[in-house]
């Protein structure tokens, strides 16, 4: 127990001391990324994919709203479908034993 504690303390000490010992290591994240405007290239796209990319180009706000709707709705639908499949396996999906060990 004491040995393990010493090992953990050593690891923590090393992590805290490393930026002081090797200062350049601490600035390892690199420079800031350049500000870029991303536009979807709709040339060569057709059908629903073209409409999708056009909507993104026209308004990020509308696209964000659509994301806010699609993600939870799709999550609920997939969760519901998975529920049906899991029920067919035959295991009890409503009770569990709450024990730590």
């Amino acid at each position: 127990m004491k040995k393990t504690r010493r090992l953990w303390l050593l690891l923590l000490g090393l992590a805290l001391a490393l930026p002081l010992l090797v200062p350049s290591l601490a600035a390892a994240a690199g420079g800031k990324g350049a500000a870029i405007a991303i536009v979807a290239d709709t040339r060569g796209l057709d059908g629903i994919i073209a409409w999708w990319a056009e909507m993104y180009n026209e308004s990020h706000f509308q696209f964000a709203l659509m994301t806010m709707v699609i993600i939870p709705v799709l999550g609920c639908i997939l969760g519901f479908l998975a529920d049906i499949v899991m029920t067919h396996i035959g295991i009890d999906l409503h009770h569990r034993e709450l024990a730590e060990k």
Binding site: A29, Y56, I71, I89, E100
Partner: protein
């Protein structure tokens, strides 16, 4: 084999779509089992599939919200989600994240943000891993003592008792979170979530990696309840994050939807596996996942320090993340399958 590749309309890349489903499956399993969003696993995975980094984070956050919602639904049916506790903690999380974000801006102005963030992350991961394994060692010690005294230990007893001590601080208003079985001052979950939210805000991460152990060790939640309640929070904060990244034009929604199909299956496996694994089983594997994350962060830090072997270190970091994700996913899936088989066999035997 062209049909295995799909054109992503916004980023313009051709992606191997089964890779997205496999990645979603893996992160769904791990997220459902530990109550994590799993950004540290998904972002390098998306990058390997050929996703530009600008889109990797936003796409990950979008699928994380949906995946956590699916996991929350399943955990909720098991009774593993304390919604009142989740909503209470959300107050502290929102304020904490905002304070953390403001602090990052202040650090940026004085020019030391990278230094603080990177090392805070490393120290935090070491502390979390230490807490988990120290707790496991303490619990074993208590078991040995109980055996020596010829008495049985309570199944709900933990090694570390910080949660119980913090619950004993009686600052009004006192509240009872029935589902979690926690009676404490309302300020306890608010302060804990303020602290974890502040850390998440500074580190720029979802926070599940910090919140799950905080719920167990500081609030005193049973492990299963901590996993479920944390996922509820990840779902809500993930949805906000998805909207924010999409508004900035950094989400490939189509990829997120494909990943979500794999994650829906993975989440079921991960959540159902918690039915067959006791709290300490979850804690130990969680500790191992934290160590995997720690190694990858250290390798990435060393990558820029040692440019001569930077490529090798970068590959090692990726191998580390994908190796841990694969091994842990296989372990969890195995637990679920063997547990379900045993349960079905017991049912058949009882029916005869």
């Amino acid at each position: 084999m062209e049909w295995l590749y799909m054109h992503m309309p916004i980023s313009g890349v051709e992606l191997f779509w089964p890779g997205l489903i496999i990645l979603g499956l893996g992160v769904g399993i791990i997220g459902g089992f530990f109550g994590l969003g799993g950004a540290w696993m998904v972002t390098p995975g998306l990058n390997i599939l050929g996703f530009p980094m600008a889109f990797a984070i936003g796409t990950d956050v979008a699928q994380m919200a949906g995946k956590s919602l699916i996991s929350t639904m399943r955990h909720g049916k098991f009774g593993n989600v304390d919604y009142i506790l989740g909503i209470t903690m959300l107050i502290g999380t929102i304020i904490g994240v905002e304070i953390g974000a403001q602090m990052v801006m202040w650090l940026e102005r004085i020019g030391s943000v990278d230094k603080v963030v990177r090392w805070l992350y490393v120290v935090l991961l070491i502390v979390i891993a230490w807490i988990v394994f120290h707790d496991v060692a303490l619990r074993k010690k208590k078991e040995r003592e109980a055996q020596a005294q010829n008495r049985e230990m309570d199944a709900s007893e933990s090694g570390l008792e910080w949660g119980k001590r913090l619950q004993a601080i009686r600052v009004p208003p006192m509240v009872t979170f029935k589902q979690a079985g926690v009676h404490c001052s309302m300020w306890l979950p608010i302060c804990v979530s303020l602290f974890t939210g502040w850390l998440a805000g500074i580190l720029g991460i979802g926070g599940g990696l910090i919140r799950m152990p905080a719920l167990v060790y500081l609030v005193g939640c049973p492990t299963h309840l901590a996993v479920g309640t944390d996922l509820f929070e990840v779902a809500i904060s993930g949805l906000y994050g998805a909207a924010s990244y999409t508004y900035k034009g950094r989400t490939e929604l189509l990829a997120a939807i494909i990943m979500l199909c794999g994650a829906a299956v993975g989440a079921q496996i991960g959540v159902v596996a918690t039915k067959y694994v006791k709290g300490y089983g979850i804690r130990i594997v969680f500790g191992l996942a934290v160590i995997g994350c720690l190694i990858s962060v250290l390798l990435k830090l060393l990558q820029t320090e040692l440019p001569a072997i930077g490529n090798i270190l970068g590959i090692l970091a990726t191998v580390d993340v994908l190796g841990f994700v694969s091994l842990i996913s296989i372990y969890i899936a195995w637990q679920m399958i063997s547990g379900a088989r045993a349960e079905l066999a017991a049912k058949r035997a009882a029916g005869k």
